[in-house]
């Protein structure tokens, strides 16, 4: 078994970096693991080391996070593992702490850590609607990553549609990069979006990216880009890739309006309906989680020091509830202080002192995050966009009609796992990440209850698909406490 680390941090975004900074300063042996090639997570998706950008994420809204990123890249005492996925997390049977199973290009290996901090972030809310599997349909976050980190826009005639104000930021970035944007569509009414941008909570939160959104709106107007409200993409069409989108109106009550649809020619559609916490690993490890109303997904529960319900397992960032980079940084710091408290490297008095102003700031930001979630929630709209023939499970090509049949069967199905067994939705390579939310929403609707009352897909090992050859070729380190099965 390789050396045991004091703390393994899963995720090199704002939360992970903030924790790493504090923990290394206190002299702990840290390993930080991320699937990307560099630190930053999704919000600070960095260009490759081979690029020399002069203007990367130059908006003011990113200043604090960028500053943390530069400091994090200088850290000593932290081993950084990039291009690596955590596919298993098991409590050790002898001694204390955890064994993490890691998969990367060279193969699969294990490492041991006394404590674990999970900060793997969030991912875009899947938006199943007719035509969403066509090449040229991407998530808002996906298009933004490609632009931010690879300086690449995967389309010449772009339509953005959704509910999240991040659309305005990306739109402005696209225009500034010379991309051609046809329109930005918000399902909400104009006044709802303005309310968010003008709300005192937003100003108090000093949520610069959102204040930037107000500026972005004006800039887009000046650039002649249509920003339209009460509109959504209802269907996407094309033969081998996106060629057009059909637009429908949305009432002020959030209902899709029947009637003739407008067609907009485009070759890239970005869907921005919010984000889901990436909490599978935490839930696999047994951490208690709850439904993250109103948007959806499972957010992991924690105490004041970011400890989950599993001993020695802390959580920080978007998996505790999608709330943005500033909250993530603060939670990462709190988690680190909590870990230092548990290690005896901080007294309670010291830890409280370090966290006092952080907690105040967190309270302000959390109010804003809730408002944002409420006003950008697609929970009412998304279920209306899926038709029976729409693909629910992208990996296995299972349509919503299959789920509807299963839900209506005599022995009614009341949880996502049972549904998965019958329809196969969730049995593909993405392991249910892109259909769990829609499945739960649809089952909830059929059963007349809230999604929160249903059980989601049970996360299983491996947390991401792993090449079998890499599992077999692992170094055969004897793990004390595991009994080796009989083999000839």
């Amino acid at each position: 078994m390789q050396a045991t680390y004091d703390v393994a941090i899963v995720g090199g975004g704002p939360a992970g970096m903030a924790a790493a900074e504090i923990l290394t300063a206190a002299g702990l042996a840290i390993v930080l693991i991320d699937e990307q090639q560099r630190l930053g997570g999704q919000i600070l998706r960095q260009p490759p080391a081979e690029f020399s950008p002069s203007d990367w994420l130059s908006g003011l809204g990113y200043a604090a996070a960028k500053s943390l990123l530069y400091r994090a890249e200088q850290l000593s005492g932290a081993e950084l593992l990039f291009g690596t996925s955590v596919v298993g997390l098991f409590r050790r049977k002898t001694g204390e702490g955890f064994t993490l199973w890691l998969a990367s290009a060279p193969g699969v290996r294990r490492l041991a850590a006394r404590r674990v901090l999970l900060a793997p972030g969030c991912y875009d809310m899947p938006a199943p609607l007719p035509g969403w599997t066509l090449p040229g349909v991407m998530t808002l976050g996906g298009i933004q990553s490609l632009l931010k980190a690879q300086y690449f826009i995967p389309g010449d005639s772009i339509l953005l549609a959704g509910t999240h104000p991040l659309q305005l930021i990306l739109a402005q970035q696209i225009v500034a990069a010379g991309g051609r944007l046809k329109a930005v569509l918000f399902a909400q009414q104009r006044r709802a979006v303005w309310r968010l941008l003008q709300d005192p909570a937003t100003a108090l939160a000093n949520a610069r990216p959102l204040l930037d959104a107000a500026a972005a709106l004006r800039a887009l107007r000046r650039a002649g880009v249509a920003v339209r409200f009460g509109r959504t993409v209802a269907a996407i069409s094309g033969t081998d890739r996106v060629q057009a989108a059909q637009i429908a109106q949305v009432s002020s009550g959030g209902q899709l309006v029947a009637g003739p649809r407008e067609t907009i020619a485009c070759d890239l559609v970005g869907l921005g309906f919010g984000f889901l916490p990436q909490s599978e690993l935490a839930r696999f490890a047994g951490a208690q989680s709850v439904w993250a109303a109103p948007c959806g997904g499972w957010r992991v529960c924690h105490d004041d020091w970011m400890r989950s319900s599993v001993t020695d397992l802390s959580v920080a960032g978007e998996i505790t509830g999608v709330a943005g980079a500033a909250v993530a940084m603060l939670e990462g710091a709190l988690a680190a202080e909590g870990i230092l408290l548990d290690c005896g490297k901080r007294t309670l008095v010291e830890a409280r002192r370090h966290c006092r102003s952080r907690r105040r700031r967190l309270a302000v930001l959390t109010r804003f995050a809730r408002l944002l979630a409420e006003l950008s929630s697609a929970a009412t709209l998304l279920p209306q966009l899926a038709t029976p023939d729409t693909i629910l499970c992208r990996c296995e090509n299972i349509r919503f009609s299959a789920l509807d049949r299963a839900a209506a069967a005599e022995l009614a199905i009341t949880d996502a796992n049972a549904t998965k067994l019958v329809t196969r939705a969730g049995m593909g390579l993405c392991q249910g990440r892109n259909c769990e939310n829609s499945t739960l929403a649809r089952l909830a609707q059929a059963g007349g209850q809230a999604p929160a009352g249903l059980a989601g897909f049970t996360p299983r090992f491996p947390l991401k698909p792993v090449p079998i050859i890499d599992l077999i070729d692992m170094e055969d380190e004897a793990e004390v406490g595991y009994s080796h099965s009989k083999s000839e």
């Binding site: 699937e35 990307q36 090639q37 999704q42 260009p47 490759p48 080391a49 081979e50 690029f51 020399s52 950008p53 002069s54 291009g83 996925s85 290009a105 991912y123 875009d124 599997t133 066509l134 090449p135 040229g136 349909v137 991407m138 998530t139 976050g141 996906g142 298009i143 990553s145 490609l146 632009l147 690879q150 300086y151 690449f152 826009i153 995967p154 010449d156 990069a177 010379g178 991309g179 081998d240 890739r241 990436q278 992208r394 990996c395 296995e396 090509n397 593909g428 390579l429 993405c430 990440r433 892109n434 991401k464 698909p465 090449p467 050859i469 890499d470």
Partner: protein, 100 residues
């Protein structure tokens, strides 16, 4: 389209029977998209699929790296392109993907 920035050295790769050029440090996903390849693979019904999330969650951007014949696909959005790489898209019916 590529936005202007000082990029790494130009490199070339083989994708199916085509030679494409891109830049050191770009992901395979960008290399393919930028060279006009719209579809990376086909789904169970033979319909084309391409990157959706660009962050490793959707498993749509699967291509085969022929230097690793013992693994049938990699996620293009998480894999940096390397000079001289030989890549195959998985455009036949998905269930034959392992028969490359």
């Amino acid at each position: 389209m590529r936005k202007h920035v000082a990029r790494g050295a130009p490199i070339s790769l083989q994708v199916d029977s085509k030679t494409i050029t891109c830049f050191a440090g770009e992901s395979l996903a960008v290399a393919l998209l930028a060279s006009g390849i719209d579809a990376f693979r086909c789904d169970r019904e033979g319909l084309p699929r391409a990157p959706y999330c660009a962050m490793g969650v959707c498993f749509e951007c699967l291509v085969a790296d022929l230097a690793r014949p013992d693994i049938n696909w990699v996620r293009a959005c998480l894999t940096p392109a390397r000079d001289g790489q030989r890549i195959a898209t998985l455009k036949r019916n998905d269930t034959d993907a392992s028969d490359l």
